[in-house]
Amino acid sequence: MDELSDHEILAAVGRGDQAAQKEFFLRYRQKAYRAAYRLLGNDADALDATSDAFVKVFRAASGFRGEASVKTWFYRIVVNTSLDLARKRKRMLSLDGPGEEPGSLADFIDSGQETPPEAVLRGEMSEKISAAIDALGEKHRSVFVLAAVEQLSYREIADALGISIGTVMSRLFYARKYLQKSLSMHVEAGDEPVQ
């Protein structure tokens, strides 16, 4: 089973083969969790999204078109499932705020007027990066997670998210500028005496 290609495994999943399901789960569970964790910002939601993504994958396996890449198809499902859950959580908490539109993101980077979220200004590096990623709009966050965390190629990201390579590159650049600014403001804020 472990020498089969992803395509062969997925085809077997589509035929209802449970051993193939297990093999697919073993191959992709870590990737899915890592991406979901960075898209959602916490462990409990990441586990929920990962689990739901595999359910969707197994149900949809029989309809998978052989010419597509299993990897990008899988990541698309993980990203969509995670973002759906993130939106649901935001609605539940009524925390809808700015940061989704590229305009406001660019403004933040260019102007230096706005400040990053409170959580970015305190806490350890892992908390800071989580809060800073969380503050990215979902479009920029998705691209950043697939590139920086999952290390997909620009082509793979473009396919997974249904956008052009040029859009991948510009979103990735803006995401990194945003994170750079958020994280460096922490350092500066830490250096200054508290008013």
């Binding site: 870590q30 359910v55 990066i129 620009y154 990194r176």
Partner: protein, 154 residues
């Protein structure tokens, strides 16, 4: 500074290792002379590295997840996001009305009726309401004991 703008996006591509040899040389020449762009490169690399650090769940977590996936797969139909069995009578009517009202408030819209007759073991009680993303169907279970509200993502 205006020169740095030219290199800004290149630094991001450099982090991903997709620059051509000539572009790489050009960027490296600039980095030697520009501390601002060097700081940008360091910051990009640091953010990427920090983002890659995640705790990996233990074996028991994966085992529990596997069980949950199998149990989710075993529950009836595809794409069902909510499958609620409700007691018949007043409680059922009130709950169904509340759900339908919610759907209506969130987006009244007429949709092609769901082919509920294709669901074996259920007798449709005729209520079908569409919202932009969901369709609700109220049915009787085969045993006639419990009415069922089915909400399906479109």
């Amino acid at each position: 500074m205006s020169q740095c703008n030219e290199f800004a996006e290149m630094i991001s591509s450099h982090v991903d290792g997709v620059l051509s040899p000539e572009e790489t040389r050009k960027l490296e020449d600039h980095l030697v002379t520009c501390s601002s762009c060097r700081a940008t490169l360091d910051a990009f690399l640091a953010a990427d590295a920090a983002a890659r650090e995640t705790v990996i769940p233990g074996e028991q977590v994966w085992t529990d997840m596997w069980d949950r996936i199998q149990s989710d797969l075993a529950t009836r139909e595809n794409r069902s996001i909510l499958f609620a069995r409700l007691w018949r009578g007043a409680a059922f009517a009130a709950a169904a009305a509340a759900i339908l009202l919610t759907l209506y408030v969130f987006g009244p819209q007429t949709r092609t009726p769901v082919d509920a007759t294709s669901r074996p073991g259920f007798q449709v009680l005729s209520v079908e309401v569409g919202a932009p993303e969901y369709t609700a169907v109220v049915m009787n279970a085969a045993d006639g004991q419990f009415p069922v509200v089915w909400i399906e993502r479109i």
